[in-house]
């Protein structure tokens, strides 16, 4: 038996959760460090996974590190089956990295520390699980398991409207999931012999009748689109992102949204190629609407966190546009790049918003001005990530958007892509206006004279994200090499 690295990735945080629950609640630092270690180990493992995958498996499209299938509930053909390939390995790394950084960023949580870290680790288990599960039942379990800790994390430690935001998130996502459950059951009973193995179902998927393909495709799409979120399913996002505590916003934006696009790439796109061909224009259209709508709404925001939240809708719109242009390798690669880059950049932006909010207790953009004089280090980091978010060349955002547009332009309606490109301009508008308002101009000494500079712990949480944003922006080739074989295989599957 090989080294069960994927199971370890999934279950070490769970073990950490049990450990945290055993520690007495007064020993806050013991809890914090236990949680961080329980998340740090999977992060190190995921780094190793990227390294190992790159050198050993990136040439082939087969599932690496497969564990199982082990019988879990044999009466209903439910198996424990894990595996990772070129689209899950980078996302596992992103999950490991952002979880660890978020936990470090959560050290300033003083209220009900034990519960907070326990829920956070359970959340990490769910996220890791989604990216490695290859059995539909297992996938669904992980998909849902995550909702519970997220509900608590928003509801207990969130902002003024936390109850509303928490239940809205929970209900909205559950509403999407039930469609997925029906689609899974339909797939199970139409396969012969009955199976829930995703890889087998991807092979047999095109054999379904046309109607059934479209129904299953749409059902999966609803579940995934709510998670992404695609306009018009996005209304839970601003509430959840704004009310959630900083670290949870990071996870929401950085990892949870990616689960939607990952689900599309892993499940519904290769499984129902015929339905995909029929509906791809509408998907791209929804993507384009998300881009423009998200950007326009961002421009109107007065609250910094809301601005970042709506910019997520816009940025995930690029992914959807790329997914609409499924026949182009560049577009799909761009989609993967955008998922990672958005995770890094928006994660960092939420962390930075949290840093400022902890000190100033307000997030209103108009309340600030000329902060560059008082807190230059913070300002420069914030400007760095704002530039990354608006797609400045040399950073990861530019690479991904560029690839998306190149690919989409060849494969899609040119007017649609042309309109979407406007999103980049709008993105620059809201980001630059925010930077101008907050960090340039006159400094209000009487009000913000006591503002302190970003501290070392907080710099540690954003520094790795800066390095990666730059690294991907300057030399994206290793990352695309890591994914290329898997993506080419996916495109072949979609072209069936």
């Amino acid at each position: 038996m090989q080294f069960p690295i994927l199971s370890l990735l999934v279950f070490i945080p769970l073990i950490g959760m049990v450990a945290v629950m055993v520690i007495p609640r007064e020993r806050k630092w013991a809890i914090r460090w236990t949680a961080t270690i329980a998340s740090f180990i999977p992060m190190v493992l995921s780094c190793w996974l990227v390294w190992d995958y790159y050198f050993r498996y990136s040439g082939s499209s087969a599932m690496a590190y497969a564990e199982g299938p082990f019988n879990w509930i044999p009466s209903l053909n439910i198996q424990y089956l894990l595996g990772a390939d070129g689209i899950s390995v980078p996302l596992l790394f992103l999950t490991g990295l952002l979880s660890t950084l978020s936990l470090i960023a959560s050290f300033n949580i003083e209220n009900r520390v034990k519960e907070y870290f326990a829920f956070f680790l359970l959340l990490e288990t769910g996220m890791m699980g989604v990216f490695v599960a290859l059995d539909f039942f297992l996938f669904y379990v992980f998909w849902e398991v995550m909702l519970v800790p997220m509900y608590f994390l928003i509801g207990v430690w969130g902002g003024p409207r936390k109850e509303y935001a928490a239940i809205k998130f929970f209900l909205y996502t559950l509403f999407g999931s039930i469609f997925m459950l029906v689609a899974i059951l339909i797939l199970y009973f139409t396969s012969e012999p009955h199976t829930l193995n995703m890889l087998t179902l991807i092979q047999t998927g095109p054999g379904l009748g046309h109607t059934l393909q479209v129904v299953c495709f749409v059902f999966f799409f609803i579940a995934f689109a709510i998670k992404v979120p695609v306009w018009p399913f996005h209304t839970w996002l601003p509430d959840a992102h704004v009310e959630a505590p900083t670290a949870v916003s990071v996870i929401l934006a950085g990892v949870l949204l990616k689960m939607g696009t990952y689900g599309m790439l892993r499940v519904s796109w290769p499984m129902f190629p015929e339905a995909l061909r029929q509906l791809s224009f509408w998907i791209a259209l929804l993507g384009a609407i998300s881009i423009i709508y998200g950007a326009l709404v961002s421009m109107a925001q007065k609250d910094l966190k809301k601005l970042v939240a709506y910019s997520s809708v816009s940025h995930m719109g690029y992914c959807m546009l790329a997914l609409g242009a499924f026949s182009s390798v560049q577009a799909i690669t761009g989609c993967m790049f955008q998922m990672l880059s958005h995770g890094l950049i928006t994660g960092a932006l939420f962390l930075l918003v949290g840093v400022l909010y902890d000190r100033a207790h307000t997030r209103e953009i108009a309340a600030f001005g000329g902060l560059g004089v008082k807190i230059p280090v913070y300002t420069s980091i914030m400007v760095f990530f704002s530039m990354a978010a608006l797609g400045l060349p040399g950073m990861s955002g530019f690479v991904s958007e560029f690839m998306v547009f190149i690919g989409a332009f060849g494969a899609l309606n040119k007017v649609l892509v042309g309109i979407s490109v406007l999103g980049v301009v709008l993105g620059a508008t809201y980001m630059l206006r925010m930077v101008q308002h907050m960090f340039l101009g006159d400094f209000d000494l009487s009000r913000w004279g006591g503002l302190t500079e970003i501290n070392v712990r907080e710099i540690i949480t954003v520094a790795p994200l800066m390095v990666l944003t730059l690294a991907i922006g300057i030399y994206p080739k290793p990352l695309s090499a890591l994914m290329s074989a898997t993506l080419e295989n996916l495109i072949n599957l979609m072209a069936r």
């Binding site: 879990w72 509930i73 044999p74 009466s75 209903l76 009900r112 519960e115 039942f137 669904y140 379990v141 849902e144 398991v145 909702l147 519970v148 509900y151 608590f152 509801g155 207990v156 936390k162 109850e163 928490a166 239940i167 929970f170 209900l171 559950l174 509403f175 039930i178 459950l181 029906v182 059951l185 339909i186 199970y188 009973f189 139409t190």
Partner: protein, 499 residues
């Protein structure tokens, strides 16, 4: 030749005698037995379980008594429900029911005996008697707080509704006897099918009348709309452990009765092509109504017992989906769902009982901030409610998955059952509503900024019930295979052939 083996009936005989012992013990100790009588009742249930596992499958008294897979499976549920109900009533017997502890526990045991008889009966009359044995002690239990208006109202209401439903059931049974000339369910199944073939559909009208009367009779027990109005009032007024026992034990007994009479007895009249009397659609409509009404009405409740009452109405609706999907998967799913429901619902009621004993209130607002003072209680309550809501990886989720899987397998078979897709759709959509009110209680307990003034203390048996519920929900959820194996024998009781 019928075989008069008394061995098969040993668990029931034992439990009946034990109930008498419990009552006598309390009287002999001059009502000063304290908690001892409760432990006595609990140990009786455990011993009964052991005896049941030794006697196993088999038949006695001809067709009258048959320990088939379904009977054994549901007897485990009945015993579990009684165990958890008694375990969660220790606080009550210490404070309120000081002078009638023996009767209280004894009646729960007697009702359990009735359920177990019902589970084993293969014949309409003994089935009816089992059902009466089940409900008559429950009338008394519901009205156990003689000085409390609400409790008395609950008892009376339950008595009237129960008597009416029994009468309807008996009326329906008399039609079936008239048509088939037998009370043996298996023989009746054959005779009815033959009569139907010979008379080329002429018996349809009477059969429909019989089916409707039976459905109404059992519908009252299962609280399927429109026969559900008594449920919230009775649950609210009854002592909480009794409400718990009603919601699981009595409901499971109703399920057994339904399965035996309708699913098994009217087996031939399910096929939409063959039959003049396709009861499936009718039951499907009732199930849909239960899910919609239960889940929507529960949202507005401020009293947790009423909320759980409406939630049990909805849960019955989910179970009926499995019943309507009358294939092997469906009947096994009914068993599994009830098993998962046992732990989660009894557990939730146990928490309610504990909080009620120590705060005197059943308002949902009482739970505000409990997570800070009583974290274990809040965790268990949340797990039970999330299991009822069907969130993985808890037992309730797998129950729902199983039931929906059964319905979709039949719906996709292309034999005129595609209306089951609608039932599944309604079930899934209303489960989103359900999450809202379950999460509302969780929100109260966890999200409040102030800590609760109450700190809940646990007595030994109450703690045991919570732990049993928690472990049950988690284990059955994470590794359901053993229970699935056990439940998938249930269809053999309905003539499905083992593979």
């Amino acid at each position: 030749m019928p075989e008069y083996s008394i061995r098969m009936m040993l668990p029931e005989i034992f439990l009946f005698l034990w109930a008498l012992v419990v009552v006598t013990f309390d009287v002999l100790s001059k009502r000063k037995s304290g908690s001892a009588v409760g432990y006595l009742a609990l140990s009786g249930l455990v011993i009964c379980g052991v005896i049941l596992s030794v006697t196993g499958y088999g038949r006695g008294f001809g067709v009258m008594f048959f320990n088939d897979p379904m009977a054994v499976f549901f007897k485990v549920i009945f015993l579990g429900a009684a165990f958890m109900a008694i375990g969660s009533s220790f606080g009550l017997t210490r404070q309120k029911i000081v002078n009638h502890r023996g009767e209280f526990f004894g009646l729960i045991l007697l009702s359990t005996v009735g359920m177990m008889f019902l589970g084993s009966s293969q014949e309409l009359l003994s089935l009816y008697i089992g059902l009466e044995l089940t409900t008559i002690p429950l009338y008394v239990l519901a009205a156990f707080f003689k000085d409390d208006r609400k409790s008395v109202e609950a008892g009376i209401k339950y008595l009237i509704v129960g008597a009416l439903s029994s009468a309807l059931l008996l009326y329906g049974i008399s039609f079936l006897y008239g048509l088939s000339g037998t009370t043996d369910i298996v023989q009746m199944k054959i005779n009815l099918a033959v009569t139907q073939l010979v008379h080329e559909g002429d018996i349809g009208v009477i059969l429909i009348l019989a089916t409707v009367a039976i459905l109404a009779g059992i519908g009252f027990k299962l609280a399927l709309p429109p026969f559900h109005q008594w449920v919230p009032d009775v649950y609210e007024g009854s002592p909480t452990p009794v409400a718990a026992f009603l919601s699981v034990g009595s409901k499971a007994a109703g399920l057994v009765a339904f399965a035996k009479i309708v699913v098994n007895g009217l087996y031939a009249f399910y096929d939409p092509v063959m039959s003049p009397n396709d009861w499936g659609v009718l039951v499907g409509v009732l199930a849909a109504a239960a899910m919609i009404l239960g889940n929507v009405a529960a949202i507005r409740q401020t009293n947790i017992k009423r909320m759980l009452a409406y939630s049990t109405i909805a849960q019955a609706g989910y179970i009926m989906i499995g019943m309507v999907a009358m294939n092997e998967l469906g009947l096994a799913a009914v068993g599994f769902y009830t098993f998962a429901y046992l732990f989660a619902n009894m557990g939730a009621f146990a928490v309610v009982a504990l909080v009620e004993d120590q705060t005197g209130s059943c308002e949902i607002a009482t739970y505000s901030g409990l997570a800070r003072t009583s974290p274990f209680l809040s965790i268990t309550l949340s797990v039970f409610l999330l299991s009822l809501a069907g969130i993985p990886p808890l037992a309730g989720f797998f129950g729902k998955y199983y039931v929906f899987a059964a319905a979709i397998s039949l719906a996709g078979s292309g034999q005129g059952y595609s209306w089951l897709y609608w039932l599944v759709g309604i079930g899934l959509l209303t489960s989103v509503f359900a999450l809202y009110y379950y999460a509302n209680v969780i929100k109260m307990a966890w999200f409040a900024r102030e800590a609760s003034p109450h700190r809940i203390r646990y007595s030994g048996p109450a703690l045991a019930v919570l732990v049993i519920g928690l472990v049950g929900v988690l284990i059955v959820g994470l590794y359901p295979e053993p229970v699935v194996q056990f439940a998938s024998k249930i269809p053999f009781s309905f003539g499905f052939i083992p593979h």
